[in-house]
């Protein structure tokens, strides 16, 4: 089936933009509600349950509260940037959502409609480029507020986000090596199996590239600026960090931006490592469009719906997982955060990229065809590497505790230090 063209394409794109944006907004609204519920349940509370059925209207009440509150702009703030910053914080996550394939192609009387707003040929390079913009909202807010706390938060935010962006980008290099393409729909189809067309891996990339997935999840979490990576906010140390001086809906935009980021990060992890909209253990939904326009598989409207549900479930899983982490793990110390980023993730990723490249080269040289056997071999290698990495991380050698740091001070040994008791 041919892709939609001409007027139908324009109409389809506008409709998709509106529908996907509404889905994203609803998701954000529900995830603020869900965060409170999850936090409540984890702390043996009930969470919001007074406003509307099951407390669902709490979201509306919050929105209303944000809009009705008094808006304060500090007299010494730099007005233009102060107003621009919240918009910049919200913008990247929203725009990123446009390149994520949400479901299998939908057949219509006018042609095939791909369930992606903008199928950009640069794929995840676009994702990395736009994700880097998120730091501007934080830095700009911190600087323009003209407040010490905001400034500290902005500085921390820029250092942290730039550090973890490297991890984020590098953890996608093995995916690129395996898939050989940066287009998001191709990445999804590479994780499915097909009877015809070029060979694929038939396995979600979380298995053959387990360590890569681990790094991407942690770096993605760091990019969302949530606990345990919420150093830019750190309300215990620097009040509210970069959004200390913000009030009313301007603060609300930072608040919502966090949830936009959360959902987008969850969606990106799903696409890169959990097969996107692929439904596991069922081959019927495996549909792909080759570069020359031939469609392999049988697209129907109910398959689109089912894959949409599958994708939503995967994204929701990660959103809930990030909520669990937020309400379980305390914030990192700043030096630990930087150690983890620069001294652990980047060297480990470099070694991992090398090893994966060697493994792929060796498998090619040994004549193993691309397919299940190929990815199973990679899975075996990754499993071992994962165990080694977790073992090393777990022994407390890579990220130092306070003990090791104190011992490193010249002239102070554990022995002399304990004499001071």
């Amino acid at each position: 089936m041919e892709a939609v063209t001409g007027t139908a394409f324009v109409v389809a794109t506008i409709l998709k933009t509106i529908v996907f944006f509404i889905i994203l907004l609803l998701g954000v609204a529900l995830s603020t509600y869900m965060e409170r519920k999850v936090a409540g349940f984890m702390q043996d509370r009930s969470g919001p349950n007074r406003v509307g059925p099951l407390g669902l209207l709490q979201v509306m009440a919050d929105g209303l509260k944000f809009i009705l509150k008094e808006e304060v702009t500090p007299g010494t703030a730099h007005k233009k940037f102060f107003i621009l910053a919240p918009a910049l914080a919200l913008f990247p996550a929203t725009v990123l959502f446009g390149v994520i394939p949400l479901g299998s192609p939908l057949p219509t009387p006018w042609g095939r409609v791909d369930m992606i707003v903008a199928d950009v040929p640069v794929g995840f390079l676009y994702v990395l480029a736009i994700a880097s913009l998120a730091v501007y909202g934080v830095v700009m807010a911190g600087w323009s507020s003209n407040s010490k706390y905001s400034f500290l938060g902005g500085l921390r935010g820029s250092a942290q986000m730039i550090s973890y962006e490297i991890g984020l980008a590098m953890s996608l290099v093995p995916v690129l090596m395996l898939a050989g393409n940066v287009e998001m729909p191709v990445l999804v189809s590479m994780q499915q199996s097909f009877a015809a067309g070029p060979a694929t891996y038939g396995m979600w990339f979380i298995l053959p590239l387990m360590l890569s997935g681990f790094f991407f999840i942690v770096s993605g979490l760091a990019e969302t600026n949530r606990v345990p990576f919420d150093l830019p906010e750190a309300e215990a140390e620097i009040v509210g960090g970069y959004h200390t001086e913000y009030s009313s809906m301007k603060f609300g935009m930072f608040f919502l931006g966090e949830y936009f980021h959360l959902i987008t990060t969850g969606a990106l992890i799903s696409v890169f490592f959990l097969g996107g909209w692929d439904i596991p253990f069922w081959q019927g939904d495996n549909i792909r469009v080759l570069a020359d326009g031939t469609v392999i598989g049988d697209p129907t409207w109910w398959k689109t719906l089912l894959t949409l549900v599958a994708f939503t479930m995967k994204t929701t899983f990660f959103v809930v997982f990030f909520m669990f982490i937020r309400w379980t793990i305390p914030r990192f110390r700043y030096d630990q955060l930087m150690d983890l980023g620069w001294k652990v993730f980047i060297p480990a990723l470099m070694a991992y990229i090398m090893l994966t490249a060697i493994a792929i080269f060796a498998l090619d040289a040994a004549g193993v065809p691309v397919g299940l056997r190929f990815s199973a071999a990679l899975f075996g290698l990754n499993f071992v590497l994962m165990l080694i990495f977790l073992f090393a991380l777990d022994r407390g050698r890579l990220v130092m505790g306070a003990t090791a740091r104190t011992r490193a001070v010249p002239g102070v040994t554990a022995a002399t230090a304990s004499e001071g008791d």
Binding site: F41, M42, D44, A414
Partner: protein
């Protein structure tokens, strides 16, 4: 002086990352799945108050609706925070009654001395606590409101065991 830094040499099992994080996630997940929450849905579900709960006052009334108070003046005298205002009066039969009887529930510390000292068992503390109001004036209860209150009165001691007061 750096030499006074106390260094705690923790075993690896206590200072490890992955194990501690998985253990923490396990604990929070256990609580997440734990359906039995101690939260009480207050306006829908109310507390069960004990019989000795000391709350909002109520005035006992005769069968014809008159307050039992004889205006003897013992309760304003014994009141440690001076929250009872009493102006006694005498009717044409020579019977004393309270012309003005007001209790400021803001000042009251709910000690129960007024109930204990009352010779005719007129003023009582009640088993009741919901007395939120929109104005401060409403917190001063006059005689009519005290008589209207119909919540159970406080048992200042267990009737089965009077010596344990």
């Amino acid at each position: 002086m750096p030499g006074e830094v106390r260094v705690v040499d923790r075993p690896e099992s206590e200072s490890s990352y992955i194990r501690a994080i998985s253990k923490g996630l396990g604990i929070t997940f256990k609580h997440f799945m734990h359906a039995d929450k101690p939260t009480q849905q207050y306006p829908d579900e109310k507390w069960e108050l004990g019989p000795r709960w000391r709350g909002t006052h109520r005035m006992a009334v005769h069968e014809d609706g008159r307050a039992k108070c004889v205006g003897c003046g013992l309760c304003p005298t014994v009141c440690p925070v001076n929250c009872i205002k009493l102006i006694p009066a005498e009717d044409e039969n020579g019977e004393r009654y309270a012309a003005v009887y007001e209790i400021d529930e803001f000042r009251c510390i709910f000690c129960g001395f007024c109930q204990e000292v009352c010779p005719v068992e007129a003023i009582h503390l009640g088993v009741h606590y919901e007395n939120a109001e929109y104005s401060r004036e409403r917190w001063v209860y006059d005689l009519a409101r005290l008589c209207e209150n119909d919540h159970p009165v406080t048992a200042l001691w267990d009737p089965a065991d009077p010596s344990s007061e």
